[in-house]
Symmetry: C2
DNA sequence: CGAACCATTGACCACCTTCAATGCGAGTGG
DNA sequence: CCACTCGCATTGAAGGTGGTCAATGGTTCG
């Protein structure tokens, strides 16, 4: 989610461009502000912000994975998405955060105060456009997820989820056939509108059909991506 | 959806401020551009745009109701939302429309070319912010709907839907206890991730419990809004 | 090494869907 | 004006998908 719209090349890929703290000129772009900001370590399960918190910062994920979710008074939870390195979180127009952001594992973030973002946006009209593009991508992701949770069967949902992970992996130039899932079955279930058990059972069925391999529960090797695509579109019935 | 963020007072409430076509100065604000644009009539079931169309215009609904939806190759449909008078449709960053927009009944729209919007946004930084706010409201609506389709039961979904209609009616200063539904049961079902039959049965149950009255199938009178709120939050089980 | 957390698997059942028939209302033409 | 028709809504019966409850197994971390 939010990938690319505002992210430049992940810093991991630029180990030689070491940050220059002392002699640097005043930061002008949002990217420069992020690069200069200290990284903040977040423990697994720790919250970055929760619903209702004042919106003080714009965050960029550097390492790990952040789960964005909403909760109902009785505890039911809907995961809205996951943010990965390069993604921005904390976008939005109103004064308070509208959802919770929780690390699914040890992570690292950088942040820039919203007041700084707004100042930059006033100087640079292109930044406003970038922010608009970023949030518009988030909207497209939400609409895709709506189609999934509203209309697809359990198998279709899980297949769709795995395919999205594969595509993200591909965009990052990694081996697309092996995916490391940085979240629990509960996170996946609450993302797809399914229970833990249904997610688990569906993974098992995919394994039995030799569509995926599950050496470890958090590591999925995709063996038959076409079958996965067929499942996701409802061409076959599992 | 999108209500308020960019809409000024609905023109219906300003009958005396009649549009001046000939001697008017060059339009400066987006609102002026909209007010000056001719209204376009849309028949029931007619499409304003479809998925994949180039994004030429930003539209404002003047009269009626527009249904925004996505479809899967096999015909399954997810309604993303409904746009009512004052709401903007056609927002988004990429070159093509990502969803379909179809009138649920006879409607009227005005439109402004995106090129004009972009020119105005360059002149007026506040407009960029307004657009950002508008799309961010759409995102919030999508997230709310996700919580509903992903986690709530059929009765909770219908109750949530009716409550949203009541609140919208209240914001417009209308009698909040009587709602005219400008869409079919199929639209509601595809919005909530339910079948027509389930929607209909749920309406019937609400009527039997004297929570609503259904003189006509498109006219709902809310008799017990607290019961509706209880249902929406899952406090009671229908 | 133990304990806590997470994932898997099974049995049962509830809710919603599917399929089918009937009812209702608006619009059209005779 | 009425009959006809079509689209939409309602209602019923049956079945399936996914949820719930419960027990076991595996992994990781202190």
């Amino acid at each position: 989610m939010l990938s690319h719209a505002l992210s430049s090349t992940p810093s991991l890929l630029l180990p030689l461009a070491h940050t220059k703290h002392c002699e640097a000129p005043a930061p002008r772009t949002l990217h420069e502000h992020f690069s200069r900001a200290p990284t903040r370590a977040i423990a697994a399960k720790e919250h970055v912000f929760t619903e209702g918190d004042p919106r003080f910062h714009l965050y960029r994920v550097e390492v790990g994975a952040i789960c964005l979710y909403k909760v109902m008074p009785d505890g039911r939870r809907q995961v809205l998405g996951f943010a990965y390195p390069g993604d921005l979180i904390g976008l939005g127009a109103c004064d308070d955060h509208q959802c919770n952001a929780q690390a699914t594992k040890r992570s690292q973030l950088r942040s820039v105060p919203w007041s700084t973002v707004q100042r930059l946006a006033r100087q640079d009209p292109a930044l406003g456009l970038k922010l608009y593009e970023a949030i518009s991508q988030e909207l497209a992701a939400a609409h895709d997820l709506l189609l999934t949770t509203g209309q697809r069967s359990a198998a279709e949902r899980v297949a769709t989820f795995l395919l999205a992970m594969v595509r993200r992996s591909r965009r990052n130039g990694q081996d697309a056939t092996v995916i490391d899932l940085p979240m629990t079955r509960a996170d996946i279930g609450d993302f797809l509108g399914l229970t833990i058990e249904t997610v688990s059972r569906t993974f098992t069925k995919l394994r039995q059909l030799a569509i995926i391999d599950l050496a470890q529960s958090a590591r999925v090797r995709v063996l038959d991506i076409e079958a996965l695509e067929g499942l996701a579109q409802g061409d076959v019935d599992l």
